[in-house]
Amino acid sequence: MTSKKLEITAEPGKTSFTTRRVVDAPRAIVFDAFTKCEHLTRWMGPRNLTMASCTTDLRVGGRYRFVFRGPDGNDVGFSGEYKEIVAPERIVRTFVFEPIPEAAALETLELEESGETTIIRTTTVHKSVENRDGHVNSGMEAGMTEGYARLDALLADMLQKR
């Protein structure tokens, strides 16, 4: 039995973080699950959100867009552009949470076949952004991604000691 834990790693001083997850399926199927709407609508997102619309134009320069509908009926969109596609092992794409277009990131998805399982790795790099309100600088952007792996440990420590 392989560990199904989602690992999230953030290296200090970098604006990126990585995730790792193992699934029990051949790589080609996992690649389809990540790129075809007939599959994506069946699994992507928490259970309290439904994917209200899905488009994936899987070619370099093509765009994707996922719209999730919450229990309150509000829609929220995630979208981006495919920058690099090496089926079935690698996709590089931009990622934008549409309400905050200035917080764009670059995501790399890598699939590694390992026996009967596939290792899914993602790397998310936040761009340095000039934020209009002047309160956010690139250092804070770095902090958003850098801080949270350590924060988990810190919080666990704190909660224990309270």
Binding site: L6, I8, W43, P46, L154
Partner: protein
Amino acid sequence: MGAVIANDRDLNTTFGALADPTRRAILARLSRGEASVLELAEPFDMSQPAISKHLKVLERAGLIVRGRDAQRRPCRLEPRRLKQAADWIGTYRQFWEESYSRLDDYLHELQTKEKTRDVKKTRNHRRTR
């Protein structure tokens, strides 16, 4: 999905404050109880003004509060804001943990279908059930 809740200016300030290792160490120290600037400066091998600067950032971010005692002005952790920051991380984690758990089920379903098809083929169209 990292940016989901991070639009909040407060949260950006919080993460900005947390980006610095010294400030994280100060928070870790304060999680064991309140301390004065002097007490905080000691283990960090830093001047008092340098520590004061870090404390100002933490205070502005709402991560600590400082006592009114003019002499000592002890620093105390304010866990509420840190909790908010952790909730944001929780949101990211929850989004993907739940997605992957659904993906497990879905991949299983897909492969079961495929196997059933293969079995049907090899049995030369004999009914499998």
